[in-house]
């Protein structure tokens, strides 16, 4: 589904006149429908891998070959901005630790919006959005409120709901459970298991190794720069 070959990324900081290397030749492979967990210390480049795949970061070198439904095999490093916009809308989802809120957009509208962008009818979008909000235990009284006033955990769950509801083919999870309590984590796990059962390929960063147990098929260790299959 996705193969990363010798990916290199460094950040040039002009005012300091230096380049900070972040990734020095990362290679990994994620078969369709499987879950790759990335583990490593803070600052080891875990998020940089995900952001390079999502193209929020522009890698200097290497290949990210993605089996797209629309484009066939496409190198995400070389893909045009328009192709990436399309893929983000239809095939690749990204969940971070932070919720990107739109001013004066309610929680329900935010989740609906992800679906309306795909061309789903308003009725269907509302039904699916309500199901997702219910699944992630977001109280019905909050559905028509603005997420700015939500607690950290509620914001995270809403964020996951927005990404999951689109049922992307590839979902990138950047520590989405960082500040969640145990029961919320279980909800996220349940959603991930469901996505996996439906064939979604996942790459995730979790600090909580217990959470990853039984969920990941493969693990990539940043320190060793190696991918290991879990049996």
């Amino acid at each position: 589904m996705i193969t990363v070959e010798n990916l290199r990324k460094s950040f040039t900081i002009h005012h300091l006149n230096k380049a900070l290397p972040a990734l020095q030749g990362v290679s990994l492979h994620v078969p369709e429908g499987s879950f790759l967990g990335i583990v490593g210390k803070s600052g080891s480049g875990k998020s940089t891998i995900l952001k390079s795949i999502y193209r929020t970061y522009e890698p200097q070198d290497g290949k990210i070959l993605f089996q797209s439904e629309a484009f066939g095999t496409i190198d995400l490093v070389q893909a045009t901005a328009r192709e990436i916009v399309y893929l983000r809308k239809h095939e690749i989802g990204y969940v971070s630790q932070f919720l990107n809120v739109m001013p004066r957009t309610t929680a329900l509208e935010l989740v609906e919006q992800s679906l309306l962008d795909l061309g789903v009818s308003k009725e269907e979008a509302t039904t699916k959005a309500q199901q997702a909000l219910r699944h992630f235990d977001i109280d019905e009284s909050l559905w028509n409120s603005y997420p700015n006033m939500f607690s950290g955990g509620e914001k995270l769950r809403l964020n996951i709901a927005c990404a999951v509801v689109k049922e992307p083919r590839l979902l990138l999870l950047d520590e989405p459970t960082a500040s969640l309590d145990h029961s919320s984590k279980l909800k996220v796990r349940e959603a991930i298991e469901k996505l996996k059962a439906n064939g979604t390929t996942l790459i995730g960063i979790f600090h909580d190794l217990e959470f990853m147990e039984g969920l990941c098929d493969n693990v990539f260790h940043m320190a060793k720069m190696q991918q290991k299959e879990l049996v």
Binding site: K51, T56, V85
Partner: protein
């Protein structure tokens, strides 16, 4: 899946002055946007980009970087020095719109393009009623049926949340946010496939700004219009644009996905701009 751009701009330049041997030529790099020898000002230099159907393209840059000159050039308010502009909806994108007669350019302006200026005084006649302002654009596009024009004007005013009992009032009496909304209604009156928005939220207070941004977003969603949004406010660009162009001294210095430009800026100026974000 090859996509055709709805608007294609190639090497658009606008200069004030004749230029000299020190500043002319393809590879001449100027430190600022003027020639230190002959003082010719290059407001826009070799601007090339594409706009696709249904997308919002953001343009950011400091004051004087050439953003507004570019927008005025696209709307034929300014005559460009050189360059090519192709609109898919005009002669199937085969004719350079900048080389057309004034009459043809007026036709393009009134049927294919819509413009919302930073200053409502430029886009609206402050002494006409809001309804007449919108009707004026419809008349310019060849409409003559008064009832239809009235109906369409009211529809649009309603769409941009202007109370209909105020439709016969002149925009002079309106607040800044309302004036911008009337401008948006006017720009939409002939269903243009391309909308140009030049610093439309600058000078408005935060809640009014959010109103106008909501409106722009909903229009884009409902009508699938392509938009070019110029702003020096990165938050506005982050919220609206899929792709972003960064301008400095009349030139494009960086372009890419909006989140990539803001989170992984490559050019020294873009980094400075992003690091200045509050």
């Amino acid at each position: 899946m090859k996509e055709q751009p709805i608007l294609q701009i190639q090497k658009l330049s606008k200069q004030y002055g004749k230029g000299c041997i020190h500043c002319q030529g393809e590879h001449v790099q100027l430190e600022k946007n003027f020639c230190p020898v002959c003082k010719t000002v290059y407001a826009c230099r070799d601007i090339s980009f594409e706009l696709y159907r249904g997308e919002i393209l953001g343009i950011v840059g400091e004051s004087g970087s050439g953003k507004s000159t570019l927008m005025k050039s696209l709307y034929f308010d300014e005559q460009i020095t050189s360059g090519i502009g192709l609109l898919e909806d005009y002669e199937n994108g085969t004719a350079n719109i900048f080389e057309q007669s004034r009459q043809q350019q007026r036709l393009i302006r009134n049927t294919i393009l819509g413009m919302v200026y930073q200053n409502p005084m430029l886009g609206l006649n402050m002494d006409f009623s809001s309804m007449s302002n919108i009707a004026e654009k419809q008349i310019a596009a060849g409409n003559r049926h008064v009832r239809n024009m009235e109906k369409r004007s009211l529809e649009l005013l309603d769409h941009v949340n202007i109370p209909l009992f105020r439709s016969k009032e002149a925009p002079r009496n309106f607040s800044g946010g309302m004036q911008q909304r009337v401008q948006i209604a006017k720009a939409l009156s002939n269903n243009p496939p391309v909308l140009l928005l030049d610093e439309v939220t600058t000078g408005l207070d935060l809640s009014v700004q959010a109103d106008v941004l909501d409106l722009i977003k909903s229009i884009q969603r409902e009508l699938n219009i392509s938009m070019i949004v110029v702003s020096h406010d990165l938050a506005v660009i982050r919220m609206l644009a899929d792709r972003t162009i960064v301008m400095l001294n009349g030139q494009i210095i960086e372009h890419g996905l909006t989140d990539q430009v803001l989170e992984d800026p490559q050019h020294a100026y873009t980094q400075q701009l992003v690091y200045s974000l509050l």
